[in-house]
């Protein structure tokens, strides 16, 4: 088991390195840098001015060297202005002078860089926004998982019955409705003046600090609905399979009541497969979270990611992708390990 986790962690680090390098490479392509220079400097810069702007900030160095600087294994870039003799550089911020600035400032030193859009250190932005998204995710999970499990179990315990048919159709319908469709429908029905049901609010901007039933219901519901269908279908399939097992038949012949069979005998075995699926939902939720945060203008992680990508804020975008990749890889690892714990018949090696 220890060996397995070690191996997986190694693979995870390799994957994270590859992915961040790809993001780094794509965001540092020349047209992207040119756009950055023009938005940061001056829209009417000439080509030579763009190049010197980029040169002075170290953007024109070799991409591997810059990636190393970002990681913190290559000394940070420094530039001496010949006319004024002022030294500027990657590691030199307003808080320190060229003399006191550290040589290395990268992710390994805990320095995630400075956001060009929000004019703040990336780590504070990411920390705050992740908190907001964590809240959204938590509530979405609290709604989604119990709902999906109940639907799946009710549908799967009597396969082919009318309850099964209708609940399965509901599950298919929700998994066919992406967040931007269900969100739009929910807002139109529950928050617009056209239908007159103004129960909830169509924006969740205020929910970051103060989440109430009125401003937080629709975003949570929108995220939860898309995931419900998939988990419910998995639970149903697994439940239906367990209900045909021999030991269920034995229990029934013994005279155990149907409710007891479902709760005491079937449920434990039926929930192994959905567990993995629930864990693997995290990466999917990430996409959903981005859409929902944009749709409801909820300023969380997804909203930040879109702002960073739209404005080519390289360091913020890189940190966003690190977070996203870690979420994906850790959930994969947890789902693998959890599967082994729940199902003793499987050995990892």
């Amino acid at each position: 088991m220890g060996m397995f986790i070690l191996k997986r962690s190694g693979l995870m680090i390799l994957t994270a390195l590859c992915l961040t390098f790809v993001v780094f490479f794509l965001t540092n392509l020349y047209p992207n840098l040119e756009k950055l220079a023009k938005t940061e400097g001056n829209m009417r810069m000439s080509d030579e001015q763009v190049i010197s702007w980029l040169d002075n900030r170290g953007y024109t160095q070799n991409v591997f060297k810059r990636y190393g600087e970002w990681l913190g294994i290559v000394p940070g870039f420094r530039h001496t202005d010949e006319e004024e003799g002022k030294i500027t550089g990657r590691c030199i911020r307003t808080s320190n002078t060229p003399e006191t600035a550290p040589n290395f400032c990268g992710v390994l030193q805990g320095d995630f860089g400075f956001s060009t859009v929000f004019k703040e250190p990336v780590s504070t932005i990411i920390g705050r926004r992740l908190g907001a998204t964590g809240k959204l995710m938590l509530f979405a999970f609290l709604v989604m998982v119990p709902m999906a499990l109940v639907i799946g179990i009710l549908a799967g315990m009597r396969e082919g019955s009318r309850t099964d048919r209708s609940l399965s159709t509901f599950a298919i319908a929700t998994s066919a409705t992406p967040e931007y469709v269900s969100g739009v429908i929910l807002i139109a029905v529950f928050a617009s003046s056209a239908f007159g049901l103004k129960w909830f609010k169509g924006t969740a901007t205020s929910a970051v600090d103060d989440a109430t039933f009125v401003n937080f219901t629709l975003p949570v519901l929108t995220i939860a609905l898309y995931g419900v269908g998939y988990i419910a279908r998995m639970t149903r399939a697994s439940m239906a399979e367990v209900m045909t097992a021999q030991y269920i038949r034995t229990a029934r012949l013994k005279g155990v009541s149907f409710a007891n069979i479902v709760i005491k005998h079937a449920l434990r075995n039926a929930l192994i497969a959905p567990f993995t699926v629930i864990m693997l939902q995290f990466p999917f939720l990430l996409t959903g979270v981005v859409i929902v945060e944009i749709l409801f203008n909820y300023k969380g992680f997804g909203w930040t990611l879109v702002q960073a990508a739209g404005n080519n804020d390289i360091e913020l975008l890189l940190s966003c992708s690190i977070v996203a990749v870690i979420v994906v890889l850790v959930t994969q690892l947890i789902s693998d390990i959890g599967y082994v714990f729940l199902n003793p018949r499987i050995r990892v090696s």
Partner: protein
């Protein structure tokens, strides 16, 4: 005079007449011949499958007859029609209404929704097909041979899959990326797979009959490379194959996102099927590895692959909508459903009518594809 909802539905129903007629014709013919049509015929034994098929075909026929269905040109703007409610008559023209109202730029929502079906129904199946070609060509040998190639390819597939889709789209579908030519390089790689696939497929089958082999392979190569030059590099001398740079960018991104999943599915299926007796029999007969892979294993994996193909078209439709929703890669004029939803959502709490028709359209198409896949799965498991 503004139409009531009953009249609006009546008018819409009338506009969709060619679609309903074709739909009924297809169903009558198919039910009549269902015992002769294999898996497709069996679909008509399952209510869910039939229902799904009806929805999918409804949109297919809508895309085909779109020119006849629309009431007003989708890009035309009319003064005074901005954000008008459904059923508002067009001033100065007899018997013409904005059946589902006007959008923020005073265009007809109904006609735009109908025209949008065309975009989706061309790109989604085509992109899915390409993703399948890539996934199959790489996944079958990975499952069959295993070893280092498999480890490497699986690592690459997992790498792409651990990217959040949105981030990948934001990186790959931008005007700046188009300047660097990366979409063209990606297209150059991805579009090569169908040619490679068909060449190997035909070569492994007919290499004992050189005459036939030469003819088939030459035909594939000529047709394939002709299309390839036009689609990837826009260098087709006759100009028959051509792809708009915007469209190419979207297409490549969607294929790129989808193919690793197909790869994993195909690899898993091959791992299972390669232990069967008929594969051992073919190997003992002395068949080449590619013959075994493409003519023994692949046809026997068709059931799950067809089901996944339907589901994946739905998923691709959702992805295209996502791209439109974020305003990536599509021209602002484009009537595709994702960007129409995106435009409509800005005024959603005051005027919900421009955003809802494309939303329901997209939802129903994906639902239809899911139901169709469910029906196919049920029927293919039955025997």
């Amino acid at each position: 005079m503004t139409l009531s909802w009953i009249q609006i539905f009546g008018h819409m129903f009338a506009q969709f007449t060619p679609v309903f007629v074709s739909l009924i014709a297809v169903f009558i013919i198919s039910i009549f011949l269902k015992r002769k049509l294999g898996l497709y015929g069996k679909l008509f034994d399952s209510v869910i499958g039939m229902f799904g098929f009806a929805i999918v075909m409804f949109w297919v026929f809508t895309a085909i007859f779109a020119d006849a269905i629309i009431t007003i040109q989708p890009l035309e703007q009319f003064s005074g029609m901005k954000n008008k409610v459904p059923g508002t008559p067009l001033v100065g023209v007899e018997d013409t209404w904005f059946l589902l109202g006007g959008d923020n730029l005073a265009r007809d929502v109904f006609s735009r929704m109908v025209m949008g079906s065309r975009q989706v129904l061309i790109i989604a199946p085509a992109a899915t097909t390409f993703a399948f070609m890539v996934g199959v060509t790489l996944g079958v040998p990975a499952g069959y041979y295993g070893g280092r190639y498999d480890t490497g390819m699986s690592f690459l597939a997992n790498l792409v899959l651990s990217f959040p889709v949105i981030l990948l789209f934001y990186l790959l579908v931008t005007p700046e990326i188009r300047e660097t030519g990366i979409p063209i390089y990606l297209a150059a790689v991805l579009f090569l797979f169908p040619i490679v696939f068909f060449t190997i497929l035909l070569n492994s089958r007919f290499y004992t009959q050189p005459k036939k082999r030469n003819l088939y392979v030459a035909m594939t190569l000529i047709l394939g490379l002709w299309a390839y030059s036009g689609l990837a590099f826009n260098a087709d001398p006759t100009g028959f194959f051509y792809m708009d740079p915007n469209l190419l960018n979207i297409f490549v991104a969607v294929v790129f996102v989808n193919s690793p999943t197909v790869f994993r599915i195909v690899r898993g299926l091959v791992l299972d099927i390669k232990t069967r007796d008929y594969v051992a029999a073919a190997q003992t007969r002395g068949e080449g590895p590619w013959y075994v892979m493409l003519w023994e294993i692949l046809p026997n994996a068709r059931g799950p692959l067809i089901v996944d193909f339907c589901l994946r078209i739905g998923y691709t439709t959702i992805l295209l909508g996502t791209l439109g929703f974020f305003g990536l890669g599509v021209s602002p004029e484009s009537p595709d459903w994702g960007s129409t939803i995106n435009e409509g959502r800005k005024l959603l709490s005051i005027y919900p009518h421009p955003a809802l028709p494309p939303a329901f359209a997209l939802m129903s198409l994906v639902l239809g594809l899911n139901l169709l896949a469910d029906g196919l799965r049920e029927e293919s498991l039955r025997d």
